[in-house]
Symmetry: C2
Subunit: 224 residues, 2 copies
């Protein structure tokens, strides 16, 4: 059986929320967002090793929240770095086997579909690098110094997480230095020469960043 890992990256502050509490700790349906996110992966399979990457100064609060919510999954916690690239790299150091698949997922995306995670692991097992994406719903234009023009939006995908990779590919790709165009792990793997397979995601898999997102989230989790 393939070793499966999930690096959950949660480095956010509460700034855009207008809150002193880091957004990943804010509750939806009575429980911190980050716990919902972790549970999605444990639902896929309890054998997935979750590696939680958090800023060191948030560790106390996280563990207090775990006590409050009686939340004790066997997950690894490790300190985040100055950038997302560095945080993922720190998470990767916690993987101590030689083979496996490593998912990277945003801590504030609790609405990823469990079937999507499962399918993305499967496709990554086959192709080496699988990344969840959705088609844009709005028109897109590309801009340069001379102006802007419409592009065929059907040729584009908006990239989400999870992004799942072969461990050895990922280790190799993350040997490099951080670069300004590394906006996600897929760009790091691509830079190292690996091809990325896209997997259809769900639009509800939003990154919770504003107070309105939080209300949306509450609505999404309430009984239909």
């Amino acid at each position: 059986m393939i070793n499966q890992f999930a690096i959950i990256v949660a480095g956010g502050s509460g700034n855009r929320m207008g809150s002193k509490i880091p957004k990943q700790f804010l509750p939806i349906a009575g429980k911190p967002i980050l716990m919902h996110t972790i549970e999605r992966f444990l639902e896929v399979s309890p054998t997935i090793q979750v590696i939680l990457v958090l800023p060191s100064h948030q560790m106390n609060d996280w563990h207090l929240l775990c006590d409050q919510h009686d939340f004790y999954p066997a997950i690894i916690t490790t300190n985040g770095g100055a950038t997302r690239f560095q945080s993922v790299k720190n998470g990767l150091k916690c993987v101590r086997v030689k083979d496996g698949l490593v998912a990277v997922h945003d801590g504030v995306r609790p609405f990823v579909d469990v079937e999507t995670i499962r399918q993305t692991y499967q496709i990554a097992a086959q192709d080496g690098a699988a990344v969840v994406a959705v088609a844009p719903k709005d028109s897109l234009r590309v801009v340069d110094q001379t102006g802007n023009k419409a592009v065929d939006r059907t040729a584009y995908r908006i990239i989400q997480t999870p992004q799942i990779f072969r461990l050895d590919w990922m280790q190799k790709a993350f040997e490099t230095e951080d670069k300004p165009f590394f906006t996600d792990c897929a760009s790091v793997l691509e830079h190292a020469g690996y091809a990325i397979t896209l997997v259809d995601g769900n639009y509800e898999n939003i990154k919770i960043t504003t107070p309105e997102d939080l209300v949306w989230a509450e609505a999404f989790l309430s009984p239909k």
Copy 2:
């Protein structure tokens, strides 16, 4: 003074809402979405002539709702067509002057900022074609038969409405037949050879399409 028009296009059903009521008629803060949207334009200036384009079979319900909500702005209503292109064209036929600026706006985008509308009219008066857009928050990839690759997301814009044009440019551009790549009015004007100026919009200016969007909308309008 420049004649200002606003074609509000509302052709939606309630399908994705799981509702028999067309989504533009669903209430937020006790009032149909479409009325909120129309009010944004009347807030900009009561002299803006609003032209509401609705499917003919929704006209009865719309007028009943106007009675219920004591909503009687002096707006023109006209029947929608089979496509958005045709609907906008129908709205354009209601403009009976020679010069002016015509905004096109989605009926289910009630959260457009009033200042943004004002600014977009101003820029359209100057440049001829002004379209509201925001920068993508997620990574983007472009796909073709051979695979996909990361693109520099800072070079892209997600296009919203309002889209505001010189009346004569618009009339000229809409003389053509509908085309599959006409995903918005900007693409129609561009096809006719006119340059588009982009105007920074607000992320809250969402198109309300799902039940969760509706709850989000309710929260957005509630006292902060």
